[in-house]
């Protein structure tokens, strides 16, 4: 493969990852607050369809994205209301909504299937896009991709560098402690479930108006991505940077399985197509390997300073979910 081709391929990886980035960032925020929104898969389909429908009808891409975010926020609000106010199981609600929103997307979307519609125009950034290698990789995309970069940074900074972000971490870890400190736990949960929903709602239009422009009904090829996004949220340890890395990694695996098809002729193409999924799980295992009893035992034999360093590394890699994830909070 030529070097240029490689760069173009990798730029494609970065672009195709951006909807997944939106979804994992949204889900990361929601789960950080202690709520699981399992309906991501259906939400992506529903917002892809409605984003496209609105954009095609009005001719405005911007309105398409606004519609996606609004619907995402609405689904988030339903999850929040049923799980926080009505105290129903978040898992059950999530599954039902995942199926409902998916079927709704296919049903309501049928008039728009295969239609032509507007798409987000490419917007190479002047000067920056001319830099060799870096330019085509990062600065020769459309606004959707740039937005994904910005949101990664904003979410990360919000979570780890601001006071409200610190409160968010606390709410997901130990709501009782947050409550004692005067935090309205349930209001926080509502807020981040709706905000997270709105971010997931960006993912759909990002597909239907940019990455895979158009709406093709059941053959849009979007079904399943939401489930991967949920896995990546976990793989990312509820950290926006790591979650984004996971999204890029997954897009990379998908691209590799495509470009390697002609090279690895011995392997059936179906195997290559599904390979990204088990590979993702394997990576997850490797990342969490450090916390196993076996490794800890071996470590205790190391001299003190080395052990410290290794322990610090493991601590960084090791992920543990927000302790209050999926639970209800009652005062007292």
């Amino acid at each position: 493969m030529e070097f240029d081709q490689l760069i173009i391929g990798l730029a494609g990886v970065i672009a195709t990852a951006s909807p997944i980035v939106f979804a994992v960032l949204g889900e990361t925020l929601t789960e950080r607050a202690g709520v699981i929104n399992l309906s991501v898969n259906g939400m992506i389909l529903l917002t892809a369809m409605s984003g496209f429908a609105v954009a095609a009808t009005t001719g405005s891409v911007l309105l398409g994205f606004a519609a996606g975010m609004l619907i995402g926020a609405l689904v988030g609000a339903v999850v929040a209301f049923t799980s926080i106010t009505l105290r129903q199981s978040q898992v059950a609600i999530g599954f039902v909504l995942a199926l409902m929103t998916r079927d709704l997307a296919y049903y309501l979307g049928s008039p728009f299937t295969g239609q032509n519609g507007p798409r987000v125009p490419p917007a190479p950034i002047p000067l920056l896009s001319d830099i060799p290698v870096v330019g085509p990789l990062f600065f020769d995309h459309d606004l959707v991709v740039y937005l994904s970069f910005i949101l990664i940074a904003v979410t990360y900074l919000w979570l780890f560098r601001t006071a409200p972000g610190l409160v968010l971490q606390g709410v997901g870890e130990r709501p009782a402690s947050a409550y004692v400190r005067g935090v309205d736990v349930n209001r926080q949960r509502y807020f981040y479930t709706i905000l997270g929903g709105a971010l997931v709602g960006l993912a759909g239009p990002a597909y239907s108006l940019s990455i895979k422009a158009g709406w093709q009904g059941t053959i849009s090829g979007l079904d399943g991505i939401g489930w991967i996004a949920l896995a990546i949220t976990i793989f990312g340890g509820w950290n926006p940077l790591r979650a984004a890395t996971g999204a890029y990694f997954f897009a990379l695996l998908q691209w590799l399985s495509l470009v390697l098809q002609p090279v690895l002729t011995g392997i059936p193409s179906q195997v290559l197509q599904v390979a990204p999924f088990p590979l993702m799980i394997l990576t997850l295992l490797l990342v969490n390997f450090g916390s196993t009893e076996w490794v800890r035992r071996r470590l205790s034999a190391l001299p003190e300073d080395q052990r410290r360093a290794v322990n610090a590394l493991i601590r960084r890699l090791n992920v543990s979910p927000p302790s209050a994830l999926g639970t209800n909070f009652r005062k007292q």
């Binding site: 006071a163 606390g170 130990r174 400190r181 935090v183």
Partner: protein
């Protein structure tokens, strides 16, 4: 700040937890609050700290009636509560813990928090690493962190609910020094405890609750019988010591070593007779907890042999240990021992010897009624376990240990229990040991308890165990020295003991 309770009533369903409590606490005073398990101490403190609202009555601060709608509202009024299980954020760093819910604003002011941390630490001789993760701290250090946070937020009344149960002796000394200093500055401190000697050491005055009512206010000079009479309505005879059993050996450890990420323990040689009670003393995390988990089958030894009744168990699974009638009772009763959300009846149903496919609720309820009476648990068969007071949860755990056992392993069996309950529970345990031949190994940080109820004592220091000491021939002073790492010979001469007689191994 002066705190006054006027006629506080609180009912939980049919339980009348506070029955018209009227108590006036002058500013700058360290007020002790005592009472048997379930007397209503925590309830009263939760009313003051805004966790629950009283059904009747009012609270006055410096003579001004106030309403305290929430814990955050309490801290605004200057009332801060230190919970027994510190309400902090274990996976976050020390500094972040201070910052959450602190001053508002978008960017947290780390520098100000760090400065406050250092200042308050300097006052009390605490030293916490601001970048350390809270889950790497000891309970005592987490308590210090909470104290710092409350002071930073301007608390002028501090409530401490059984603060000394999980902390080491040096940490307790530090805590007491800090509390004295705070009271000298004019802050009011309410100190809930079961330990009379802590009241004697620390408190300017004490109040006793019983069955929800205030029954006595006691001022120095303190007399133990006044407290005991007020709390329990009479004396509590401590059972007389019995000579150690002379039965056949039951549990044999030969050169056993065990380790976790932090500590290597052993080699330990120990033979325990049937019906013998062995106390394990030592600073928290010196290896005694690993030995207990090893004997429970929760940890595999890295070397050596374990035999129970002649059967080798060093490679056995936890399940095989259970089948050999070994039972472990961990210290953390709510997370490891009891299931939150299940009622007493359901616990007895889970615990039933014969498991059918369907639950025999009628029988389970009957068992529950019997055991509630037998162990005088303050609760009903349908009460969810988390609504029980701490002491009653402990009684429940013991009541669940019905089947005959060979080996019983206990971690802090009387932590959080009032004196009467502790004596009662040990009476039951001793009966078990003597009549069924159950060998008991237990950890306790209360050296008086270790001496009073063990036949022999093992002292742990940094993963090494002392030779088993006969409880008759050692003393609290000697144990204290051994816990601090002083070698046995030195400890013996320092503690002024006679030459040890031949120690049985």
């Amino acid at each position: 700040m002066q705190v006054e309770f006027r006629n506080i009533h609180k009912r939980f369903g049919s339980v009348h937890a506070n029955k018209g409590i009227t108590l006036n606490i002058p500013g700058g005073c360290i007020q002790g609050l005592l009472g048997e398990n379930g007397a209503g101490k925590s309830t009263l403190m939760k009313v003051l700290s805004g966790f629950i609202t009283s059904d009747e009555g009012e609270i006055l601060l410096d003579g001004r009636a106030v309403t305290i709608p929430s814990p955050a509202g309490a801290i605004e009024q200057g009332i801060g509560m230190l919970h027994q299980d510190p309400l902090d954020f274990p996976p976050l760093r020390v500094l972040d813990n201070l910052l959450i819910g602190g001053r508002r604003g978008l960017i947290p002011d780390r520098r100000a928090a760090l400065k406050a941390l250092k200042e308050i630490e300097a006052q009390f001789g605490f030293s916490l690493d601001p970048d350390a993760y809270v889950d790497t701290l000891t309970v005592g250090e987490r308590q210090q962190l909470e104290l710092i946070r409350l002071l930073w937020l301007g608390a002028r009344v501090l409530i401490l609910d059984e603060p000394t149960t999980g902390i080491s002796a040096p940490q307790k000394v530090k805590l007491f020094a800090a509390l004295r200093k705070l009271s000298a500055e004019g802050r009011t401190i309410i100190f809930v405890t079961h330990k009379l000697e802590e009241v004697y050491q620390l408190c300017h005055r004490a109040a006793v609750l019983r069955a929800g009512a205030l029954v006595a206010e006691i001022e120095p000079p303190y007399h133990t019988e006044n407290f005991i009479n007020a709390m329990f309505g009479g004396e509590i005879p401590t059972p007389p010591r019995q000579p150690p059993p002379t039965t056949a050996p039951l549990l044999a450890l030969k050169g056993v070593t065990v380790e976790d990420a932090r500590l290597q323990v052993g080699p330990i040689d120990l033979t325990v007779k049937a019906g013998e009670v062995i106390g394990l003393a030592g600073m928290e995390g010196s290896g005694q907890d690993l030995l207990l988990r090893l004997c429970a089958g929760l940890l595999r030894p890295t070397g050596g042999e374990i035999a129970l009744g002649g059967r080798a168990l060093q490679n056995a699974t936890y399940h095989q240990f259970l089948r050999n009638r070994v039972k472990f009772m961990p210290a953390d009763r709510m997370t490891e021992g009891l299931v939150a959300g299940l009622s007493l009846t359901e616990h007895f149903a889970l615990n039933a010897e014969v498991h059918g496919f369907f639950i025999n609720y009628k029988q389970a309820e009957q068992t529950a009624v019997e055991r509630i009476a037998e162990y005088s648990i303050r609760g009903f068969p349908e009460s969810p376990v988390e609504s029980l007071s701490g002491g009653n949860q402990q009684r429940t755990l013991l009541a669940l240990l019905s089947a005959p056992l060979h080996l019983l392993l206990l971690e802090h069996p009387t932590r959080g229990l009032d004196l009467e309950s502790a004596v009662y529970i040990w009476k039951r345990l001793k009966e078990r040991a003597r009549s069924d031949g159950t060998a008991i190994l237990f950890i306790s940080s209360d050296l008086d308890e270790v001496l009073q109820y063990s036949d022999r004592v093992l002292v742990f220091f940094a993963g090494r165990a002392s030779v088993p000491l006969s409880a008759m021939q050692t003393s609290v002073e000697e144990l204290g020295l051994l816990i601090g790492g002083v070698p046995l010979e030195t400890a013996r001469s320092t503690a002024g003991m006679h030459q040890p007689e031949a120690l049985s191994r």
